[in-house]
């Protein structure tokens, strides 16, 4: 491409100030928008978690009434899942996928702008529902019928918000699929793509497959609530359990939507700091595909207690146990990547290692939950709460933090403050475990989840968990500080940033120029 044309591009008359962000179609700008939005929601959802933990600090009702407590558990989950984790990963995808495959931008830039700008409206609607008459949705993020049918106007607002988020996710996912298939640089064959791109490609398919299912489920709720249908009302021949089947047909793949990109990030970080190629690239890709396939046939393990026929329980138990095989392959491959490397332990690597360890704890408790007879004891207790926070916080969220430290120098052109980064890591890892490890014991000892008050024998572990939660919550202010500080200045980062990392993103200067790879690179 002629340099004159490239220069012209640079000067594209984009508006400045706020209009730049509203009208932008640049993948890096949109990535930044997604990541900032995610960080904001992470704080909002975290504040709600602290309301929950403050109430649970002591037995008895002290701070909030049970109805508001239920709104907090419901909102905390919805905000974290749909507001923090999913948009966070889309932010990474926007920034990194074009740079990793040598593309100038996403394939559908205008759609990209749209996908993002739907979100602020969706979340205004969702958070606004807290101020609806009768308060926010209080039936848990799972919105199980018939409880959600009893709810007030806030449930309708939530349904509308879920529709908007769903549209945003599906559009974003379509964009990623189209980009990966059409925009790769010459020589970038599928099996040469960085693992992060692979995990996102597969995640995008999961999203396209399941978000419409969620949309269907909540639409049926809406018509049951207002238009006289009885999908979930036994009095009209409906079945409340059908809601759960449809919901979890979305919900289980959704779990992998939130973890596969995390696997991708970890698989980029570990080789860099082990100074060794990723072990078993092909089996990593295969494992991700295997997990994605299995995610469609295990949904009912979320509902073993609803009274399924024996044969159904057995099927879902076996299928769920099988997921341990590809997941194990991933963990073994990460360990093998470190094996006989030449490791250093900068903040991204610390996060990556702790994700491998802590995610594995969540994976193993997941295997325990898969054992149907035992699940009858664990189901809907704090054991499950501990399990999914090990997977979603120390899996997904901490992988994102690691990824942020890893690519911040590339994004901003400055090194972040390594001392503070490490401090943030240690505070996060330690407080995380203080918060969630005791919850395993609470669950086994018999404490149900989603209760605002508890029997006295659960006091000590709840105190511990609440103290941990406040430590964990306030430590995240440090993350915000480190990020802001890094954006505003700091030691100049080189193009490579780290010690000879692999990947096209490290061949462009830091900060990455507004437009990269307008002439496609040649991949050997």
């Amino acid at each position: 491409m002629a340099t004159a044309e490239a220069a012209h591009h640079e000067e594209h008359h984009h508006p400045s100030g706020i209009m730049r962000w509203i009208t932008t179609t640049n993948h890096k700008d949109i990535g930044t928008l997604y990541l900032s939005f995610s960080l904001m929601m992470f704080m909002v959802g975290g504040a709600m978690a602290l309301v929950i933990r403050a109430e649970l600090f002591q037995p008895g009702l002290q701070i909030v009434d049970p109805h508001f407590f239920n709104q907090m558990t419901t909102m905390h989950a919805l905000v974290m899942i749909f507001g923090a984790i999913m948009p966070g990963f889309v932010g990474f995808a926007n920034w990194m996928i074009p740079m990793m495959i040598g593309a100038p931008d996403m394939a559908l830039p205008r759609l990209n702008n749209w996908s993002f700008w739907i979100l602020p409206f969706a979340f205004t609607m969702l958070l606004g529902s807290l101020f609806a008459p009768g308060g926010g949705p209080a039936s848990g993020w799972t919105l199980y019928a018939p409880l959600s049918i009893q709810g007030g106007m806030s449930v309708d607002m939530t349904i509308l918000a879920v529709h908007m988020m769903g549209i945003s996710s599906v559009l974003g996912a379509i964009n990623i699929v189209v980009t990966v298939f059409n925009m790769r640089a010459p020589g970038m064959t599928l099996m040469k793509m960085p693992l992060f791109v692979w995990t996102w490609l597969i995640t995008a398919y999961l999203l396209i497959a399941v978000m419409p299912v969620l949309a269907g489920a909540v639409t049926m709720l809406l018509t049951d609530r207002h238009f006289g249908t009885a999908f979930f009302d036994p009095a009209g021949g409906g079945d409340p359990v059908m809601f759960q089947h449809i919901f979890w047909f979305f919900g289980h793949p959704e779990v992998y939507v939130m973890i596969l990109p995390a696997f991708g990030i970890i698989s980029e970080i570990i080789p860099t700091f082990a100074r060794k190629p990723l072990f078993g690239y092909a089996s990593m890709v295969l494992a991700v595909a295997g997990i994605a396939f299995l995610s469609f046939i295990v949904w009912a393990h979320h509902m073993f207690t609803v009274g399924m026929p024996l044969i159904g329980e057995l099927f879902f138990m076996y299928a769920t146990m099988l997921i341990a095989v590809p997941t194990g392959v991933k963990v073994f491959n990460w360990v093998a990547t470190m094996w006989r490397g030449s490791m250093t332990f900068e903040t991204p690597m610390l996060f990556a290692i702790s994700v491998v360890v802590l995610f594995t704890i969540g994976g193993l408790s997941g295997l325990m939950l898969a054992i149907t007879p035992a699940d009858f004891q664990y189901h809907d207790t704090y054991f499950v709460v501990a399990h999914f926070h090990y997977v979603l916080f120390s899996g997904a969220a901490m992988a994102m933090m690691g990824g942020a430290y890893y690519w911040l120098p590339k994004w901003t052109g400055h090194m972040y403050d390594e001392k503070l980064g490490k401090l943030h890591f240690w505070l996060t890892a330690i407080f995380f475990n203080i918060t969630f490890f005791p919850q395993h014991f609470l669950g086994l000892a018999g404490m149900p989840r989603r209760i605002p008050d508890y029997a006295l024998q659960f006091t000590e572990f709840n105190v511990m968990s609440s103290i941990g939660a406040f430590g964990l919550g306030f430590s995240q202010l440090l993350l915000v500080y480190v990020v802001v500080k890094c954006v505003r200045g700091g030691e100049k980062a080189s193009a490579e940033v780290w010690d000879n990392p692999k990947g096209l993103e490290w061949t462009v200067p830091s900060p990455a120029p507004y437009h990269t790879f307008e002439t496609p690179p040649q991949v050997r």
């Binding site: 341990a324 240690w426 890892a429 330690i430 014991f441 000892a445 018999g446």
Partner: protein, 374 residues
């Protein structure tokens, strides 16, 4: 850029150590599943311990490799990176070994599950119905039925008085069951989904409106066993405990006989004409079942549960009031009470609502009026 190596390994190992106390032997300290009192409970506990042990071993083995590597293969020690990137043989081995372990876990799990689901040949059948927010128990072969409500005083919950030993795990009437007898539960719900759980019996099953789930237990030891509702069911989900009072078969028979007499006495009371004062006194007692939503002073919860004080229904025609209470309002939390309360109880509570909290309809509803509407 680097942390001191001892600090790093110590801290990372620190993350793994919390697993270690999870040893099966510590069941008494509330770290593990509580000691079961049913055969299925025993099986589940040993299954749980076995699987946890396997998981623990896998965890220790895998991460010994990793932590050794973190210790030995570091740049600061001058370790040079090898450049190998795969090993088909190794990758096959570590796919097959987990698979074999999984098969080993699946076999005993399947056997236990099959026994759990076998509800045949039970000697006693109890129907359990979840309501917002209480349980109702019906002994189908004996014509005995009653509600079981949380009995922890509001003052304890709101921190105005010291909390008792069984705080939140106590009820006005426990479910009485015989020991050494196969008991079958038929579990359902009236309004939303609830889940009936007693950890020591290892019984947890959802009560789903419009459907009946079956599960069974056999209690080996007399005693009081406590549990809770485990499916989010609205505002007072945390306040609907389950208490099982397990008695020897003889004591259980005696209990049955005493309760049948009581039921007969109630039936004859329902035939009688009640005075206003008696109705009000009884109504006040029954109103406890309404207070969770409509408030102790009939004040309700704004925009969620309507107040009774000054309500158009509670001050209007009695027929309309009876209609709401007996049949509920579809699609709302207002449930049909005709299945849970006797004629006398409905008459009393409606009378009470009409003549308390500043309402002064002045009329007394008789049990016979309710009976006529059934």
């Amino acid at each position: 850029m680097l942390m001191s190596r001892s600090k790093l390994s110590a801290a990372i190992i620190g993350l793994a150590v919390p697993w270690l106390p999870v040893v099966p032997a510590m069941a008494d300290y509330g770290l593990n599943l509580p000691p079961p009192v049913s055969p299925i409970g025993d099986e589940i506990l040993s299954l749980h311990n076995l699987i946890m042990l396997i998981c623990l071993i896998i965890f220790v083995v895998v991460f010994s490799f990793m932590f050794y590597s973190i210790y030995a293969h570091r740049k600061s020690k001058g370790h040079k990176a090898a450049q190998f990137s795969h090993s088909t043989r190794l990758e096959i081995v570590w796919s097959v070994i987990p698979f074999v372990i999984l098969v080993g876990m699946a076999i005993p799990s399947t056997a236990t599950l099959i026994r759990m689901e076998d509800t045949s040949q039970a000697d006693v059948t109890v129907k359990i119905t979840g309501y917002q927010w209480k349980w109702r128990y019906e002994y189908l072969d004996h014509g005995i039925a009653f509600n079981s409500n949380l009995s922890t005083p509001r003052d304890q919950i709101e921190n105005r008085s010291a909390k008792g030993d069984n705080y939140l795990l106590e009820v006005d009437r426990p479910l009485v069951l015989p020991t050494d007898t196969k008991v079958r539960f038929l579990i359902t719900a009236n309004d939303v989904i609830h889940s009936w759980w007693v950890p020591e019996l290892a019984v947890k099953k959802d009560g789903i409106p419009g459907f009946i789930n079956e599960i069974w237990t056999l209690i080996k030891k007399p005693g009081i066993y406590r549990g809770q509702c485990t499916e989010l069911c609205g505002k007072d989900h945390g306040f609907m405990p389950v208490v099982v009072d397990a008695r020897s078969p003889e004591d259980f028979q005696a209990w049955l006989a005493a309760n049948k007499q009581e039921a007969a006495a109630d039936a004859s009371a329902a035939m009688a004409e009640w005075s206003m004062d008696d109705l009000m006194a009884k109504g006040k007692e029954i109103y406890g079942a309404c207070a969770a939503c409509h408030g102790a002073q009939g004040e309700g919860v704004p925009n969620v549960f309507p107040p009774i004080a000054g309500s158009a229904v509670a001050t209007g025609p009695v027929a309309q009031h009876l209609e709401v209470v007996m049949n509920g309002r579809d699609g709302t939390a207002m449930q049909a009470f005709k299945g849970q309360l006797s004629d006398t109880e409905i008459a009393a509570v409606v009378t009470y609502q009409r003549n308390s909290f500043g309402n002064s309809a002045g009329d007394a509803v008789q049990p016979a009026d309710v009976k006529a509407l059934r």
